[in-house]
């Protein structure tokens, strides 16, 4: 059982009123005593320590604080207790600074809003600066192609593209199954189930292939860009690069931007194909359309420009994902929590921007006659 430090109040002659402490005065036993001492009303003339056992600095601090606040003298302290009290006393604090969260007063709210607006403005400025740096880096690389880090580029192509093939393939296949199956159920009501092929083919090429791929790449690679660059920022690797004369833009950002931009185009196309295969697969069973008939019908009903719509959107989405990931990574400062926050922001921003842009593209391509 735990033994707690105790106290009793001793009334002496001549108005002397003391507190007698007993038991061990150590961190493990002090919790209750401290709360009780804070609760009782002074003044006291003395604190009697002759009955206490072990003492540590927490006990010493409690005694000393109580003596300070109630104006009592400390009596009966052992050598060790006296030494410890002297040690904590030496480090006497000035008035406890009330460092805490600012209360939510109207002024506080206004200040918070102001801070938020300023931070937002600075964010825009930083992003423009980042874009500028990236463009300069790209221009330099165009003028001096020998400075291009091909190893790094190829590695990113592998990480962003090749290794994503299985998961994106499976995802697209399943999406294709869902579109074809659900589409067939609805179209059947009009006896138009043959249009399931148009639905699956056009939707896969124009929208779902590239959009789902973008979301997957944002989650897979955008987050890893932000986390990796952010960690390198924390461990001062980025600073080390700069001092050696290696531009982090050229070494880290450009390969990732290139990989993401190019690979999203390819992956988007691949996803569309897999999605159509998924649709053809399910149609064999639910619509009894033979697999190869479904595929050859796709060639007839999907106009060429649908493929171009997908191929144009892919690189744009890829660019946005890479920019968001790398930019947020470069903005990491301070501690490990910042890496987590920036990574989340990178993924959320990337997916949000991709969906907003997709809406613009949808309207735009219809207006230019690629509907």
């Amino acid at each position: 059982m735990r033994e707690w430090a105790e106290f009793s109040i001793a009334e002496g002659e001549g108005g002397a009123r003391g507190v007698v402490l007993s038991g061990p005065l150590v961190v493990a036993s002090i919790g209750r005593l401290d709360a009780q001492l804070r609760g009782i009303e002074g003044p006291f003339t003395h604190i009697d320590l002759s009955g206490v056992g072990e003492v540590d600095t927490v006990g010493a601090w409690t005694v000393w604080r109580f003596a300070r606040d109630s104006g009592a003298d400390i009596v009966g302290a052992s050598d060790k207790a006296r030494r410890l009290i002297a040690a904590v006393h030496r480090s006497e604090l000035e008035e406890e600074s009330t460092a805490g969260a600012a209360a939510l007063s109207p002024e506080g709210m206004a200040a918070l809003t102001g801070k938020f607006v300023i931070a937002y403005g600075q964010g825009v400025k930083h992003f423009l600066a980042f874009l500028g740096e990236l463009i300069v880096a790209l221009a330099t690389l165009v003028r001096h192609p020998s400075r291009m880090r091909w190893t790094s580029v190829v590695r990113q192509f592998d990480l962003v593209g090749i290794r994503a093939l299985p998961i994106i393939g499976l995802m697209s296949f399943l999406v294709g199954i869902v579109i074809a199956q659900q589409g067939a159920v609805q179209l059947e009501q009009f006896g138009a189930e043959i249009y399931t092929i148009n639905l699956t083919g056009r939707l896969s090429f124009r929208e779902l292939g590239v959009l789902m791929t973008a979301i997957m790449v944002a989650g897979r690679s955008g987050s890893s860009f932000a986390a990796q660059i952010g960690t390198m920022k924390l461990t001062e690797e980025i600073d080390a690069m700069r001092t050696i004369g290696v531009s982090p833009m050229e070494a880290l950002v450009v390969p990732r931007v290139l990989a993401s931009t190019f690979m999203l185009m390819v992956l988007g196309f691949y996803a569309a194909i897999l999605s159509i295969i998924g649709g053809a697969f399910i149609s064999m069973y639910s619509l009894e359309i033979p697999f190869w008939t479904f595929l050859s019908r796709i060639q007839e009903v999907v106009p060429n420009h649908d493929m171009w719509v997908g191929l144009i959107k892919g690189p744009v989405f890829g660019l946005i994902i890479a920019l968001a990931g790398c930019y947020q990574g470069m903005r990491v400062e301070g501690n490990s929590e910042a890496v987590g926050i920036r990574t989340t922001v990178a993924v959320v921003q990337a997916i949000f921007a991709v969906i907003v842009l997709d809406a613009f593209f949808a309207v735009f391509f219809t207006e230019v006659g690629w509907g």
């Binding site: 036993s29 002090i30 401290d34 540590d56 604080r65 301070g334």
Partner: protein, 279 residues
């Protein structure tokens, strides 16, 4: 939870310790006893397993063989969570400080208090954190700073403050003065010594710093050939004829540290005798 302080003579006893990473044996048949209330310096070449020994003693590195007893209780490395009582009674300063980067210095110090003694009121906890900050020689305003805002030396002090949070009976310091400037290192040595004098804990100190060894260590343990080859005061070690020890303490740096120590001794003596120099 034990409130009684350890009263035996040897708070740390290691017998026949063997540690290994796969086939790579780090220690074999290592024996070491640390006396209560001493500052024991642990030295050894790079890669001789000084830090591994510390990790084995605090239960982070399972031992392949042998026995480790800390504060009278056996340490079982493979069930580290069982030693929870003991954990409340030691403090560890890791090489890099290992402060929690998302917490302020004061919050870092409060973590072990909150963990072990939740009944302590937030006010007292905060006061404890603040006087520990002071005890470890940090300025008052450091309490509310985050580790990333501190210099290397301040991080070490903050790490020490957290190690001292529970008023431990045992303090493990892993290269506390590495990476500090000579003034900062000397100040840290002084602090270690003063705190030990005041609080009376036992210190297990891994170091490469010859000045630290001369300045504050009561005894020095030398690790070589996978075991502790000698323990003793520096003069005792120098009397041994081991080539590594001779090279270590009598190399150019070792000499310099000894000379410095001799000068300090001479200086103190001169001051002890008033007017000694004039007479």
């Amino acid at each position: 939870m034990s409130l009684e302080h350890f009263t035996g003579d040897f708070p740390i006893v290691v017998e026949g310790l063997k540690t290994a990473f796969g086939d790579h044996v780090i220690h074999e048949g290592l024996d070491l006893s640390v006396r209560r209330g001493e500052i024991l310096g642990v030295v050894g070449g790079s890669g001789t397993g000084k830090s591994v020994l510390m990790r084995a003693i605090i239960g982070l590195q399972p031992a392949a063989d042998g026995r480790i007893e800390v504060l009278g209780e056996e340490i079982a490395g493979d069930h580290a969570d069982d030693d929870i009582d003991i954990r409340a009674r030691w403090g560890v300063l890791f090489q890099g400080g290992a402060l929690f980067s998302t917490l302020t210095v004061a919050e870092n110090i409060e973590v072990p208090l909150k963990e072990f003694y939740p009944e302590i009121s937030p006010t007292l906890r905060r006061e404890i954190a603040r006087y520990k900050v002071m005890l470890s020689g940090l300025p008052d305003d450091a309490a509310d700073k985050y580790p990333s805002e501190l210099s290397g030396g301040m991080k070490k002090r903050a790490g020490l403050a957290r190690a001292l949070a529970m008023d431990p009976e045992l303090l493990f310091l892993d290269e506390p003065t590495a990476g500090l400037d000579p003034i900062g290192a000397a100040a840290f040595d002084q602090l270690t010594r003063e705190l030990q004098d005041t609080l009376g804990h036992t210190v297990f100190l891994i170091t490469h710093d010859l000045d630290t060894l001369h300045e504050i260590c009561d005894r020095v343990a030398v690790i070589a050939d996978k075991r502790v080859i000698a323990v003793g005061t520096i003069p005792e070690l120098l009397a041994l004829d081991h080539p590594w020890i001779q090279q270590y303490f009598n190399g150019p740096r070792g000499r310099a540290a000894q000379d410095a120590q001799a000068r300090v001794r001479a200086g103190t003596k001169a001051m002890d005798k008033p007017g000694g120099r004039g007479a």
